[in-house]
Subunit: 157 residues, 4 copies
Amino acid sequence: MSPTHDALSGEATQHLSHLQCSRQWRGFLQALAAEFTQALSNDELRELMFRVGERFASAHLLGPCATLSDLQQRMTDVWCNADWGSVTLVQQKEQLSIVHHCAPLLTGMDKSNVDWSLGFLQGAYQKWFDAAGAGSLRVAPGEPTDAWGSASFSLSR
Amino acid sequence: MSPTHDALSGEATQHLSHLQCSRQWRGFLQALAAEFTQALSNDELRELMFRVGERFASAHLLGPCATLSDLQQRMTDVWCNADWGSVTLVQQKEQLSIVHHCAPLLTGMDKSNVDWSLGFLQGAYQKWFDAAGAGSLRVAPGEPTDAWGSASFSLSR
Amino acid sequence: MSPTHDALSGEATQHLSHLQCSRQWRGFLQALAAEFTQALSNDELRELMFRVGERFASAHLLGPCATLSDLQQRMTDVWCNADWGSVTLVQQKEQLSIVHHCAPLLTGMDKSNVDWSLGFLQGAYQKWFDAAGAGSLRVAPGEPTDAWGSASFSLSR
Amino acid sequence: MSPTHDALSGEATQHLSHLQCSRQWRGFLQALAAEFTQALSNDELRELMFRVGERFASAHLLGPCATLSDLQQRMTDVWCNADWGSVTLVQQKEQLSIVHHCAPLLTGMDKSNVDWSLGFLQGAYQKWFDAAGAGSLRVAPGEPTDAWGSASFSLSR
């Protein structure tokens, strides 16, 4: 027999998905999101989360990074230390692709709240690229790429 | 030598305080609180947290409880299952005293945010007592009783 | 776009696998396993783990269960409360199939140690079925079924 | 009112003590310790734990450290990253004092098992000091200093 990681039973999927977002805050976050969505529009919530993400990045500055690979490592160190997954940065022709893997904020909430929750990651990456001197480049609103809290963004003019 | 639990070195205090609020959400919560306090007054934040607490309790209903002791046990089960500490309910002459021990929301935030954060517990207890048929009784705004996230509230007319 | 849970990137796989076994004990368990395998044979280790599993089950007795479904629920309650996954019990013609999903002991160790580590689950299930009055039925040594710590056992004469 | 960290209610003590050792491994470790103590003497268990500690340190080497303060920081980084507390190193006249704060292994077990469990920390510190070139210096068996998993050791000829 040769078990592979991608053969996921329904039970394993449910368990892993559950584990991703710490049991201490799952209930609180869901109640918070329910309150938020009643009071604010999706656009307002995305902007709110963007500002929270900027504050998070400001509180976790990366230090000087000489290369894209350095930057990816420092960002991943911050995320890993908080069990927030990791990031892959890929330079493409006209833009930089930012792929975040396994953000617990995205899996801890109902699917309908994933869209505006992405604002948190967008804001954090924007602040980190600003601090790295990326000047006028903007992180575009991202989109989810799997149900494990992964999402992709692009950085361009 | 007879080690006692209350002899706490500075390092132990720091470590235990840190452990109380899961490492996955500490940074997020602090960024969220910073954003909140810039946008809203303390009273508005306490009311917001009250509503979030009510939603949390509604999502974790306790089932029928015959006695105060039952109620205390069911509430504590909810809190324990989420590593949110425990509660003691004490019937006093004119009121019921509600003592919550070790709420991670209170220790995960800066001291200046503890006051409005208490609204979450106040809202949760209010909703649970409403559901238990406490009718017109109100949970009064609580106050912190130690630096480990404990707080006391009272339920009265 | 429609993200599905089974589309797992390499990074997501690594992160989820990592999350399964608590960061506090990963290093300790790996050092313990390395010491164990130098001192004892695989058979001795499986037997040691079997006895540890029996002790775990004795310390977490299930209470009276009227049906197989009750038994499955009570066992799963114990596992879930410890973030140890869940179990499915399926009555087959000549045996009962016991499928454990997502045991962190199996993912926290190197692959070469999975075989004897299964002894822990085997011992726990044996003790629980003994306590449930399964009399002379034996839990056979199990085998892993995926790389997320799942394994299947059978209970028969 | 001025809440202080040292005013600990019985409930807070119990909760914090519980939180120190991850819920995923508490039951497993207690079952393992029960099995160990039936099979081996205290001296054998301390030696076993010493070897496990050495293996742990070997798997978490510290890199070059120029000063005692560096060494303390690197060791603390390893412990912190695993939620295993921290360490303070104090040079005294004839020996170096090693004070470990809040080891979850010590709080996760019954009090009667604390003594031999200290072997793990002793082995880890011995291996780290060996690797740092401490040559013929030996870490003496330590003793617990509080009920939060703290313990003190000395390094001397």
